[in-house]
Symmetry: C2
Subunit: 464 residues, 2 copies
């Protein structure tokens, strides 16, 4: 149907059709030059007086109009070549022009990196903001990162399995987003904070090597660089241990950098493994930035933090809480007094750190139901509550559960660092604001009374 701009240099002397956006227009005496842009690049198109009608039509063109242009590809005269552009040696002499769509002047410029533009405006007109080269590159990069990870894991016999988005509320830490059920008045689904329980159930199912690039949801209070929904690489394995999981992650990301980011270099291989105590003592942080030169854009300092404490004392609630989550295995639990003081209990938990960011975390899971119940007890849960909340998992563990564990690197943050961006919104196609609004779609928004009625809901009046 048409030639892509990237293919035009191979068509010298041929008549082709280009389609795309008017990136820029320059008038030079009797000639009009158009930079025609499609996803793959830019081609210079010349309108000359040989085709008067077409030249006249071209004089109407404005930036961002969508056009279809037929013409002949020619080599540019020697002095006019632009060696910086892949298509800089050619231009197209226009013979026919069709305007497919006109365009209003965009509310902001599209040919800069956009960092100078107010973010509210960029998010409201995200479909224009995404036209800029930087964001297009970020979208492609993100897709390439994910594709690379997928093929890596498939090669190692991992199965990608989709788990439900409409699931059950199981308070594990953060607040759940919930979805009222129309068919069951007063009942709700919850959106998953992670597929934690499903992936553990898949281990009980004998899948042994599971992964998923999966959307997760947390209804947290607004904070700068957070999104209500985010994407993680969810990995779970059976018959494994911490060593095997960390080695797997190290292998995937070492290969990713080698293949897709040859300009970048990893500070230390194998990735250093610091105990939580050591990290806090030496670096004052459980996500230390181990780069040697923080001004070096291409330096990547990966690290693993291990040996986290299992429990932390919650002053306000006057109870012990799991640092990671209650399904984490306690180190050497067979030689501990689980009825005693849990201070000093370490967990088989690990964090994955890059350039001072936590980019993932995981653990070996406790699969012995009697120890699990003990953990819940230490956390101050009543037995009935545990059965109510996690009954299906504890029941599942009675039917032949393999030892298992996993890890979940966050895709948004990894893509952000690899793209050299300052925040995750730059690597998400349609992000929300820090306070959870979609400025383009205008969400969240009010429902019609009829919808609320169907859901058996009433909005509480504000107290005066």
């Amino acid at each position: 149907m048409r030639t892509l701009t990237k293919d035009a240099p191979n068509k010298i002397g041929e008549q082709i059709t280009l389609m795309g956006w008017v990136h820029a227009r320059r008038d030079h005496g009797k000639l009009i030059f158009i930079d025609l842009r499609d996803r793959w690049g830019i081609v210079q198109v010349v309108f000359n007086p040989k085709n008067k009608e077409v030249l006249l039509e071209a004089s109407r063109l404005r930036p961002e109009w969508v056009v279809k242009i037929e013409g002949v590809v020619k080599e540019r005269p020697e002095g006019m070549q632009n060696p910086e552009l892949p298509t800089g040696k050619i231009e197209m002499e226009a013979m026919k022009l069709e305007i497919l769509a006109e365009a209003k002047t965009p509310p902001f410029t599209l040919d800069t990196d956009g960092h100078e533009i107010g973010e509210e405006n960029r998010l409201k007109y995200r479909y224009l903001d995404l036209r800029r080269e930087r964001l297009k590159r970020n979208l492609i990069l993100r897709d390439e990162i994910i594709s690379f990870i997928r093929s890596c894991l498939h090669e190692k016999d991992f199965i990608e399995i989709e788990t439900p988005i409409l699931t059950k509320s199981t308070p594990e830490g953060a607040r759940d987003y919930v979805v009222p059920s129309r068919l069951y008045p007063g009942k709700f689904y919850a959106l998953p904070q992670s597929p934690q329980q499903y992936k553990q159930l898949l281990m009980v199912a004998g899948v042994e090597r599971y992964f998923q690039i999966v959307r997760c949801f947390r209804d947290e209070d607004t904070r700068g660089d957070r999104q209500p929904e985010f994407t993680q690489l969810d990995i779970e394995m059976s018959f494994t241990n911490q060593e095997e999981i960390l080695n797997l992650i190290e292998e995937i990301f070492t290969e990713l950098i080698k293949k897709k980011f040859p300009e970048k270099h990893i500070t230390q291989s194998p990735f250093p493994r610091l105990s939580y105590a050591e990290a806090m003592e030496k670096h004052g942080s459980d996500k230390p930035d181990l780069r040697k030169n923080k001004d070096d854009k291409n330096e990547l300092a990966f690290a693993f933090i291990i040996d986290f404490p299992m429990f932390e004392w919650k002053k306000d609630e006057k109870r012990w809480d799991a640092v990671h989550h209650p399904f984490t295995k306690i180190q050497n639990s067979e030689s501990l007094n689980l009825d005693g003081d849990p201070t000093g209990f370490l967990a088989e938990q690990y964090d994955f750190v890059l350039n001072g960011y936590e980019v993932g975390g995981g653990s070996i899971r406790e699969h012995d139901p009697t120890i699990l119940e003990k953990v819940f007890e230490i956390m101050g849960n009543k037995k009935e509550d545990v059965r109510e909340k996690f009954g299906h998992l504890l029941t599942a563990f009675e039917y032949g559960v393999p030892p298992h564990g996993g890890i979940a690197p966050g895709i948004d943050r990894l893509a952000m660092i690899l793209a050299g961006e300052p925040n995750i919104r730059e690597v998400i196609a349609f992000p929300k604001t820090g306070d959870g609004r979609d400025l383009m779609m205008d969400a969240p928004s009010e429902l019609e009374k009829k919808q609320l009625d169907e859901l058996h809901l009433e909005i509480k009046k504000k107290k005066k």
Copy 2:
């Protein structure tokens, strides 16, 4: 750490460690035979009186217990070989046995195809049901289908882009699932029925070739083979037409069958294209089953149905409605009187059909805002309502929109047919019942009063 069962035949004479489930146990005089199962297959393990303690421990083993066994791989005596098993020529002589987890007797048998077992029970214990060979194969098959499609589209320069799950309610047909906002009292997000508007906005953004394997949500009344959430392959292209889109789909699925299902054959290539009128007249259906022999499990009759009517008269509502959706392009709209009677207007819409099932649908989109407003008018919408509901899309179309269109094959149904299964629940890891319940997790479920308060919600009391 261990040897997988599939690798054991290459280790004759070597000492290895196997881990997995006790699939079956047979006692023969002084010997105990165990079929040890992992994800990759089964290996026969022999316990003999040479290791008395180990033999004694093995006598405790029951089906579905999880074990770690060390031993030596041996060739089976000639008469004892089982040519039907890939590991049928070898067995392992056990030297060490560790019981990793005991197991209760499963509530149903796991070594049949499971069709004979009540589905409620299968769904409640899905983590056991998934252990059966048939379901494991379905999960792998589904992943292979999706992986194949992904690499096909990546090769053709499509970008996979993730679109939001928390978005805006825009009544397009079915009912939305909604998510109350805690931060904005009385406001709600909606879960997408499809990424329809996002993918069109990505075309405005200049992505040109987008796809996504994406979860979609519809709150519909209960009906046998439906799920509240389902997965579709979402494709959208710019500067395209119906011909190019149908050819793309035909190419992907022809290649998929050739590469991944060599035992299957396609009834007719190129896939036949029937007009809606012709399909209804000749076959009495807009999803005709064109197989020559419906008893042939390996026959695949793909077809495209085209030239759908644009509008249908809704008797009850006394108004015209879009058959597909209002963003569909009307055929030859430039030569029609859009203020007149829309009977007979055809749409640039197409359905993708396989063996009597609709497995996808799509359309070329109308990108001219003035015609779009006309369509909404024909459908009986007030101008203000249209702006309110679809304003962001109409606004976007003013900034240089390329002609575009797309298609969205349903992954669940395609996987179901290719796996030879009678319903989509057989190719979904954790499906819900026909009436939207998750029997394993017990969802939907009630919230605590505190959660409702935070969401500014009250459950309406039932009227007496």
